[in-house]
C-alpha cells in the first residue's frame, strides 16, 4: 500500500518535473516567469494527439509533439520575449499571461471544447508484483522522464553548450564578454525546455487518456509553485520540489483522505516554505 502510493506519487511528480524544468531554465537565463509554458505543454499534447491520429504510432507522436512544442517555444522567445527584455519585468509576465489565455482559447476554437481521447497502445504492458501495480502509462512516464533527465544532465554537465548554458544562467553579461553567443544559448534553453513540456503534455494525454483545451491551466500555476519551491532557476531543486509535491498530493489525499483540493497543496507548500526559506528549498539568497 505504502509502496504503491510512493510509486503513484513519483509518477505524478515526474510529470511535474518535466513541465517545471523548462520554466526554471527560462527563468534562470531570462528572469521571466514564463506562464505560457503550460500553453506549450497543452500544444505538445494536441500535436501529439493529432500526429497519433494521422500516423498511428505512439513513439513517433511523442517525438513530433516534442518537436512541435520546441519550435513554438522558440518562436515565443524570438517574437514576444526578446523585444521586451529592456522593459520592467512585469511586461513580459503580462505578455506571457495574455499568450497563455489566447492559446487556451485558440485550442478551444480550433479543436473544439470537448475532450479528445488519446488511446495509444504503447506496447510496454502492465507490471504487478503481489499487490503492487504499475500501469503501462505509469511505466511509460517513469521511463521517459528518467531518459529525458539523464539526457538533460549529460548536456548540462558534459558538453560545451551545457557549460555555456550554466554560465549564462549565472551571469549572461560576463558570459557574453567571453565570446559566447548568448542569444543562441537562450534559444537552446527555450528549445530544450519546451520540448520537455511537450513530452509532459503527450505523457499526461496518454495517462489520463484525454486532451482538452484547458489542460494547461492547473500545470501553469502548479509548475510556478514548484519552481518557486525549488528556488527559481535552480534545476536540482526543481526536480526535488516536483517529486515532493507529487508525493504530498498522493499521500495527503490518498492515504490520509483529507477532504482538501489536491491542487491547492502545491501553493500551500509554497507559501509555507517561503515564510521560512524566502528563496526556496535549495535556493540561495
Amino acid at each position: 500500500m505504502l509502496i504503491q502510493q510512493l510509486a503513484n506519487g513519483i509518477a505524478i511528480g515526474s510529470v511535474y518535473a518535466l513541465i517545471s524544468l523548462g520554466l526554471t531554465m527560462v527563468y534562470g537565463i531570462l528572469r521571466i516567469l514564463h506562464v505560457a509554458h503550460a500553453g506549450i505543454y497543452a500544444l505538445g499534447a494536441y500535436i501529439g494527439w493529432f500526429s497519433f491520429r494521422l500516423l498511428g504510432d505512439f513513439w513517433l507522436s511523442l517525438v513530433i509533439g516534442m518537436a512541435g512544442a520546441a519550435i513554438a517555444g522558440y518562436l515565443v522567445e524570438r517574437f514576444l520575449y526578446s523585444p521586451l527584455l529592456h522593459l520592467p519585468r512585469i511586461a513580459p509576465l503580462i505578455v506571457s499571461i495574455g499568450l497563455f489565455i489566447t492559446m487556451e482559447e485558440a485550442f478551444r476554437i480550433v479543436a473544439g471544447p470537448h475532450t479528445l481521447t488519446y488511446n495509444a497502445s504503447i506496447g510496454l504492458g502492465n507490471l504487478s508484483i503481489g499487490s503492487f501495480h504499475l500501469t503501462e502509462t505509469q511505466i511509460l512516464i517513469l521511463l521517459v522522464t528518467f531518459v529525458i533527465l539523464i539526457i538533460l544532465w549529460t548536456i548540462l554537465t558534459r558538453t560545451r553548450i551545457g557549460l555555456a548554458m550554466r554560465a549564462c544562467a549565472m551571469d549572461a553579461e560576463t558570459t557574453s564578454s567571453f565570446g559566447v553567443n548568448v542569444s543562441g544559448i537562450i534559444a537552446v534553453n527555450f528549445l530544450i525546455g519546451s520540448a520537455m513540456a511537450g513530452a509532459a503534455g503527450v505523457l499526461i494525454g496518454v495517462y489520463d487518456n484525454q486532451v482538452w483545451p484547458t489542460m494547461g491551466s492547473l500545470p501553469a500555476y502548479k509548475a510556478l509553485a514548484i519552481v518557486v519551491l525549488g528556488g527559481l532557476g535552480n534545476i536540482p531543486g526543481t526536480v526535488l520540489a516536483a517529486i515532493v509535491v507529487g508525493l504530498a498530493e498522493t499521500f495527503l489525499i490518498g492515504v490520509l483522505a483529507i477532504p482538501f483540493p489536491r491542487d491547492a497543496v502545491a501553493f500551500i507548500a509554497m507559501i509555507l516554505v517561503l515564510m521560512f526559506r524566502p528563496y526556496g528549498l535549495l535556493g540561495k539568497a
Partner: protein
C-alpha cells in the same frame, strides 16, 4: 411603451453598476501595481473576501448594509496586511506567484469550507434600505459613484503627499529608495492594505447588487480581467485603469460576438498592448496622449 423603457433602463443600470464596480477594482489594483510597482495576480481574492464578509455579516449576523459594507473593506484590508507582510519580503517574481497562490487558496476556502456556502455560494443579500424602503438600483448606482469619487479624491491627495512620493521611489528603484531612507516594506504594505480594502469595498457593493455570490466570481480569471483593465488603460496613470474598466466592461455587453470571444480578446489585448503599447491607452509614451498633446500645442506653435 413605459414597460419597455423600464426594461431598457434596468439593463442599462445593471451595466452601469457592473462597470463602476470594475472601475473601483481596477483603481484599487492600480494603487498596488501602478503606484507602488508591486504586481498582484490575486486581486480578485480581496474582492471576494469583501463580498463574503459583507454577505455573511448581512445574512448571518443580521448587520445592516451600512455596517456590513464598511466592515468588508476593513476585513479585506486586515487580511491584505496579514498576507502582505510575509509576501512583500520576497522578490518581485516570488511576489507575483505568491499573490497568485493566495488567489487560489482563498477561492478553495470559499469552495470547500461549508461555512462559506460551498459551491452554492450565499444568497439572500439584498439592496440596502433607506427612508424605510429598499434603495432603487439607480440610487444604488449613485451611492457607489459618490463613494468612488471620494476615493479618487483621496488618491489625488495621496499622490501629492509623502506616501505618493515614497511609492513612486519604490516603483522606480527599490534599492535606491531604501538607500535614501525610505521604509520600503512599510510603504509596500500600506499600498497593499489600501488596495485590498478598496477591493473589499467593491466586493461588498457587488454582493448587495448581485444578491447571491459564488466562489467562481472571485477566481484567477477575475484577477486577470482586473489586471487587463489596468494594463489596457495604462498602468500607473490616474484615469487609465478607469477608462480601461469602462471600455472592457461595456464592450461585451453591446456586442454579442465580443461576448462569445471575450476571453480570447482579453488574452490578445494583454499580449498586444504590452508588446506594442506597454504604457496602455493613457501612458506617457502612448499614441493617444501624443495625439492629444499635438492637438493642444499646435495652435500655439503656429501663433
Amino acid at each position: 411603451m413605459p414597460y419597455g423603457f423600464v426594461m431598457i433602463s434596468g439593463y442599462l443600470i445593471t451595466i452601469l453598476i457592473t462597470v463602476i464596480v470594475y472601475a473601483m477594482l481596477a483603481h484599487s489594483l492600480n494603487i498596488i501595481t501602478g503606484h507602488a510597482g508591486q504586481i498582484s495576480l490575486g486581486h480578485a481574492a480581496f474582492f471576494g473576501i469583501g463580498a463574503y464578509t459583507s454577505a455573511l455579516l448581512y445574512t448571518g449576523a443580521g448587520f445592516p448594509f451600512w455596517v456590513s459594507v464598511p466592515l468588508a473593506a476593513v476585513v479585506a484590508g486586515i487580511v491584505g496586511a496579514l498576507l502582505g507582510i510575509p509576501c512583500l519580503r520576497v522578490r518581485d517574481d516570488f511576489l507575483a506567484i505568491t499573490t497568485m497562490g493566495i488567489g487560489f487558496v482563498v477561492e478553495a476556502v470559499f469552495l470547500y469550507i461549508p461555512f462559506f456556502g460551498g459551491a452554492m455560494g450565499i444568497g439572500g443579500i439584498n439592496l440596502p434600505g433607506w427612508f424605510g424602503r429598499e434603495m432603487s438600483k439607480p440610487e444604488y448606482f449613485l451611492l457607489i459613484l459618490i463613494v468612488f469619487i471620494l476615493l479618487i479624491l483621496l488618491d489625488r491627495r495621496l499622490g501629492r503627499s509623502w506616501i505618493g512620493l515614497a511609492w513612486s521611489s519604490i516603483r522606480e528603484d527599490e534599492q535606491a529608495a531604501e538607500a535614501m531612507g525610505v521604509d520600503v516594506v512599510r510603504f509596500k504594505v500600506m499600498a497593499f492594505v489600501l488596495g485590498s480594502s478598496i477591493a473589499g469595498l467593491a466586493g461588498g457593493f457587488y454582493a448587495h447588487f448581485l444578491t447571491f455570490i459564488m466562489p467562481q466570481n472571485f477566481g484567477f480569471g477575475q484577477s486577470i480581467v482586473i489586471l487587463c483593465m489596468v494594463v489596457f488603460g495604462g498602468i500607473g496613470t490616474r484615469w487609465g485603469p478607469i477608462l480601461g474598466a469602462i471600455i472592457l466592461g461595456v464592450l461585451p455587453e453591446i456586442s454579442r460576438p465580443i461576448m462569445e470571444y471575450r476571453t480570447l480578446i482579453y488574452g490578445l489585448l494583454l499580449l498586444a498592448m504590452m508588446r506594442f503599447q506597454p504604457g496602455g491607452l493613457l501612458g506617457e509614451e502612448s499614441i493617444l496622449p501624443k495625439i492629444l498633446r499635438w492637438i493642444q500645442y499646435r495652435p500655439s506653435e503656429q501663433g
